[in-house]
């Protein structure tokens, strides 16, 4: 296509379309990787690992376009937030793709192990849940729906609960001598990978909130930190003990903490 001067808003739309494409690639990876794991399809594992390069290349391309837009256009306010959000999202999505590559690699490591139906069922369900979360996070992004973005944290609870059941099922299978230690550990990691994808979707939701409203998820954490440090005019020993985690009280671990996934 002939080189032509694009308007800034065209450029923003282009960045958005590419994020949508990246998200679609990553979302495809989830059922694909699950299929590889459940069928022991080594050809599929290899092709998935290779296909990750495509995701990496697209991620780089989007990032570069974002940086160049920032440098050339010096955007303000919501335009600025859109671009910054896009950069963040590439990271979250690319990492989610990598997690599915890890699933494919785990499938190679446990090749030949038989998984009992309960484990397989739970893996299928975690995969569906993770894929649903990524879909919803992208819907929130495209529709600039801050409320959906904010809801993802609670939607993710279902996946966390499944992850809990899954770990229990691994213990059961292992103690029943149906599952060796090595595949059991690999499978536990696989469960973690799905669970992490859910967390990335939650992060995307928060970034969307930021894009739409300017609200920064870190602000609550930062405010807590400020509050903590300003109260820390107590003895230096206590402060040191707290920092070392010897405090014992759970005051340092606020519940319902925001995902600190940097």
């Amino acid at each position: 296509m002939p080189e032509q001067r694009k308007s800034f808003h065209q450029e923003l739309a282009e960045i958005r379309d590419q994020i949508v494409e990246l998200g679609a690639l990553v979302r495809e990876f989830i059922p694909r990787g699950t299929d590889v794991l459940l069928t022991g399809d080594m050809g599929g594992a290899l092709s998935l690992i290779d296909a990750d390069d495509e995701i990496d290349a697209l991620t780089l391309r989007i990032e570069e376009q974002c940086y160049s837009a920032l440098a050339r256009q010096q955007p303000m306010a919501s335009d600025m937030r859109s671009i910054v959000t896009a950069v963040w999202l590439t990271g979250e999505l690319e990492r989610s793709g990598d997690l599915m590559v890890n699933v494919a690699k785990a499938a190679r490591r446990i090749y030949g192990a038989t998984l009992d139906p309960r484990l397989r069922g739970l893996i299928e369900r975690m995969s569906e849940e993770a894929s649903r979360l990524i879909s919803l996070s992208l819907d929130a992004y495209v529709e600039r729906d801050a409320s959906l973005g904010a809801a993802l944290g609670d939607i993710d609870d279902a996946l966390d609960a499944l992850h809990g059941d899954y770990i229990e099922a691994i213990f059961d299978a292992h103690s029943g001598q149906d599952l060796g230690l090595q595949p059991a550990v690999q499978l536990a990691l696989v469960g973690r990978y799905y669970e992490r994808i859910g967390d990335h979707a939650v992060n995307i939701g928060q970034r969307v909130q930021y894009m739409v409203t300017g609200w920064l998820p870190e602000q609550t954490g930062a405010a807590r930190l400020r509050a903590r440090t300003s109260f820390s005019v107590v003895s230096a020993d206590e402060a040191a003990a707290r920092a070392a985690g010897l405090d014992g009280s759970s005051a340092g671990e606020p519940d319902g903490s925001v995902e600190g996934d940097r």
Binding site: V20, E21, R27, E28, P31, V142
Partner: protein, 445 residues
């Protein structure tokens, strides 16, 4: 007197002079008008000729009037031609929109010139469709450079799909553009797989036991030890039973396929449930599985082929028993919902993997080959169930989770209900099979 005469004379001269001047002016104007008119005529005639508008017999001369009527008729013609063209374009657009394919035409900059409704799904799309859109753009760029392109995209969805994108350069109009055709080939591929698998499976199911019988018989011939001979004979028996069952099921299946119009019995829903459950009780006891019947008290009358319905439910129960763990529980349920009559069989066994769910109703389809040898099924049970459902204008669906169990649900239309009063003239229904046929919405075959 002289003065008066002179005045009168000069007055006459003035009148005459004025008259002459007016006459001359009129002559000049007439000459000029004529010239102008001739020029207009010549010019108009020339342009009409150049535009290729032919003169008709009616306006053969080149007077202004006839020229104007030529223009009129030419405008009328082009208007009706334009109208016709618009109609043709509208019709073609409609045809494009009814296509199950997505079609779009882009110009050299990639801007869309034409597209049908189906193509709309891939514009500003999200998720899997966004990937199709990206591939379409990539292939269109290729075709705008003059090369035809084609690629198949496997999408894991959900739902899992296969999409073929074909692009071709277009150049008839002299303007460089390209067309993209996007086709969803998921269903076609599934049918191909069904066909090839069926041929492979049927030969496996029939040839394996027959081969075994041949070999066993051969060994038996040369065997002296009565104990071994007895064992061999028993194996022959088992294998021949297996072949027998497969053939029986195949015959049953083809009977159901042919017999699709025979819906004659009027049966209480509860009695169908009871009959099916009773038939399978011995097998269930052997497998240490309990069958619970819900809805046995339902006395709503259902117009159906009793044998087929019982056969469908026993097949579902049979499967449920085979894939349940010992001490498992199976529920068979009948109910009348506001929308339809529902039969369902639920087990809490091993379940069916998601990727096999839409294929379990195929003949001889096996989720797990090894296990099916062990359970001794023929692989036709669910195919029979599906045919029974179709014969009764109903549907059958399965929901399953690995490790948690499966639920098969058979739904029949409410129109089959409520022939309780007419229960007695069972024979009248049979005597006029066409009335039966018409009252039933026919399902797709």
């Amino acid at each position: 007197m002289m003065v008066v005469a002179a005045v009168v004379l000069s007055g006459t001269t003035m009148v005459i002079g004025t008259f002459v001047i007016v006459l001359a002016a009129v002559a000049v104007v007439m000459i000029c008008t004529r010239r102008t008119r001739q020029r207009i005529e010549a010019r108009l005639g020339g342009s009409l000729d150049r535009l290729g508008i032919e003169r008709t017999d009616l306006d053969a001369d080149s007077s202004l009037d006839s020229l104007l009527s030529r223009i009129e008729s030419a405008v009328r013609q082009s208007r009706s031609a334009g109208e016709q063209e618009r109609r043709t374009i509208g019709r073609l657009q409609e045809v494009l929109d009814t296509l199950p394919l997505a079609v779009m035409v882009v110009d050299a900059t990639g801007a869309i010139l034409e597209r049908n409704i189906a193509a709309g799904a891939f514009i500003d799309a999200r998720h899997s469709d966004a990937l199709v859109g990206a591939l379409v753009n990539e292939l269109l760029a290729e075709s705008l450079a003059g090369r035809p392109a084609e690629r198949t995209l496997e999408l894991f969805g959900p739902p899992r799909r296969a999409v073929v994108v074909i692009t071709r350069p277009l150049g008839v109009t002299g303007i460089r553009c390209a067309v993209a055709i996007i086709e969803d080939v998921t269903e076609r591929r599934r049918l191909e797989a069904v066909r090839t698998d069926f041929v492979a499976n049927i030969s496996h199911e029939l040839k394996t036991p027959i081969g075994a019988i041949g070999l066993l018989a051969e060994t038996l011939q040369a065997e002296d030890d009565p104990e071994v001979a007895d064992r061999l004979a028993r194996r022959i028996q088992t294998e021949s039973y297996r072949v027998g069952r497969t053939i029986e099921d195949l015959l049953e299946l083809s009977r159901i396929e042919i017999d699709e119009t025979r819906v004659a019995d009027v049966v209480e829903i509860g009695s169908i449930l009871d009959e099916a459950a009773d038939r399978l009780r011995p097998a269930a006891e052997q497998a240490e599985v309990t069958i619970e019947v819900f809805g046995a008290e339902l006395d709503d009358a259902l117009r159906c082929d009793r044998r087929q319905m019982v056969s469908a439910l026993t097949n579902l129960l049979d499967n449920a028993i085979k894939y349940s763990d010992p001490r498992g529980r199976i529920e068979i349920r009948g109910e009348v919902s506001p929308q339809d009559v529902v039969f369902s069989v639920t087990d809490h066994g091993i379940g069916i993997p998601a990727r096999d769910l839409d294929r379990v109703f195929e003949r001889f389809y096996r989720v797990d080959q090894a296990r099916s040898r062990q359970t001794g099924g023929t692989g036709l049970g669910l195919a029979i169930v599906r045919h029974v459902a179709v014969n009764h204008a109903g549907t059958v669906k399965v929901e399953s989770r690995l490790g948690e169990g499966s639920t098969f649900t058979l739904r029949l239309p409410l129109s089959l209900l409520g022939a309780h009063e007419k229960a007695a003239p069972d024979s009248s229904l049979q005597s006029d099979p066409t009335s039966d046929l018409n009252s039933l919405p026919k399902g797709p075959q």
